[in-house]
């Protein structure tokens, strides 16, 4: 019973390591190893797409569309990537990813107990992220 437009959220550091993974009701696959592998695969694909680009200044894949899902990716200036797997045609995911980026800068980077490039274990980040996702769902249902 996937309520949400968003199925899962990944955050990967600049070297392609998965530092945050959250599942919002995608069918089955929650294996940690799988998510790690997917994250680093995406990191490489993103890099390859930059190389493949026929025009200069390409910043990698922003959106990957498949039959039954969309993958939206947002890369911050420091190379940290946020990507979300969503329903097809989900709206405003770019904005949502930017809001999540903001939460990351606030509750992860300003936390003295967080080590850079390491997996995110911050209570406040989880709390606020849950709130944002919840709000997103409410607006989605209201539509």
């Amino acid at each position: 019973m996937a309520l949400a437009a968003i199925y899962s959220l990944f955050i990967i550091n600049k070297s392609g390591g998965l530092i945050y993974y959250k599942d919002y009701g995608s069918a089955g696959r929650t294996d940690t190893n799988d998510s790690l592998r997917l994250a680093s695969l995406w990191h490489s694909m993103h890099a390859i797409s930059q190389q493949l680009s026929p025009t200069p200044g390409c910043e990698g894949i922003d959106l990957l569309q498949a039959h039954n899902f969309d993958l939206h990716c947002f890369q911050s200036l420091t190379g940290t990537k946020f990507f979300a797997v969503c329903e097809t045609g989900a709206q405003n995911i770019e904005t949502l990813l930017k809001v999540i980026y903001e939460l990351y800068t606030d509750f992860v980077l300003k936390n003295p107990f967080y080590e850079m490039e390491m997996p995110i274990r911050c209570e406040l980040f989880d709390l606020n992220l849950a709130q944002v996702i919840q709000k997103d769902r409410v607006t989605l249902l209201g539509r």
Binding site: F107, K110, N111, P112, F113, R121, C122, E123, L124, L127
Partner: protein, 262 residues
């Protein structure tokens, strides 16, 4: 110019500030005389008269006085730097800048200690220095060079004045401990220093509010109320986040003195 200066002011009682202020006025030699001290007038006296002027209860509101300072034509009326009222300064600093600085403070201290108790102590010491300075400043700026001498007075001074200056708001609550006579608590739903901080589970009950506890201890101790101040997380029902309580335990002598006062 240098010759003129030497002529007007006997070098024995010329303070550096006075010389500076008359230098800064440039060529208006005629006016210089008006503002320089009369012979035999030592800088100490100047300080006293300046502070007396600040003391007066019926002084105009600060905003207006600051406005006067900015006016180009009137700037020279504070030729002596000691006559200048203390400016209120900017009321706010960037929360992000503070959060990063505080985060670095915690991280640095973490590298210097072996255990959590020591980290707590170091943060408290850092806060203590802030508290001592804040007391000094606020007594002058907000209280007209007076400080509280009574227990409840100093507590409400911390709860309202100090909190407002440091965190932009009054503390959520100030309570007296129910079990012990000498214990008081200042509680805050979300302490500003903890706004972005999630303490990992393996650090137990550690609270970065130790820094704020240090500030409170700094204010109290320098006002003559020695106390032990600690910060604790206290869970609230129906809330995910615990609140922070600053627990103040006064020294025995403080309560004895308070009892004598009646």
């Amino acid at each position: 110019m240098a010759k003129g200066l030497r002529g007007q002011q006997p070098s024995t009682n010329t303070s550096p500030t006075r010389r500076l202020s008359s230098l800064s006025k440039g060529k208006k030699k005629g006016e210089e005389l008006d503002y320089s001290a009369p012979p035999g007038h030592s800088p100490i006296h100047a300080t006293r008269s300046a502070s007396r002027r600040l003391d007066r209860g019926r002084r105009p509101p600060l905003r207006r006085r600051v406005g006067k300072m900015i006016g180009v034509g009137k700037a020279k009326q504070y030729a002596n730097v000691l006559d200048k009222p203390l400016s209120r300064g900017r009321q706010e600093v960037s929360l992000s800048a503070f959060a990063f600085l505080f985060s670095e403070l915690v991280q640095y201290n973490q590298t210097q200690v072996d255990n959590i108790a020591e980290l707590e102590r170091r943060l408290e010491d850092a806060g203590y220095a802030v508290g001592a300075r804040v007391l000094e400043l606020l007594c002058h700026r907000e209280k007209g060079n007076r400080r509280e001498t009574r227990l409840l007075g100093i507590l409400s001074f911390i709860h309202s004045t100090v909190w407002k200056v440091l965190f932009g708001k009054v503390a959520d609550s100030l309570e007296k401990g129910t079990e012990h006579e000498d214990e008081y608590m200042i509680s805050e739903k979300e302490l500003l220093v903890n706004r972005f901080i999630s303490v990992p589970k393996d650090m137990g009950a550690f609270n970065c509010g130790a820094f704020v506890a240090g500030i409170v201890r700094g204010v109290l101790e320098n006002a003559g109320f020695p106390a032990v101040v600690t910060a604790h997380f206290v869970p609230i029902e129906g809330q995910q986040r615990p609140r922070t309580t600053i627990l103040i335990k006064f020294a025995e002598e403080v309560l004895q003195r308070e009892a004598r006062f009646g």
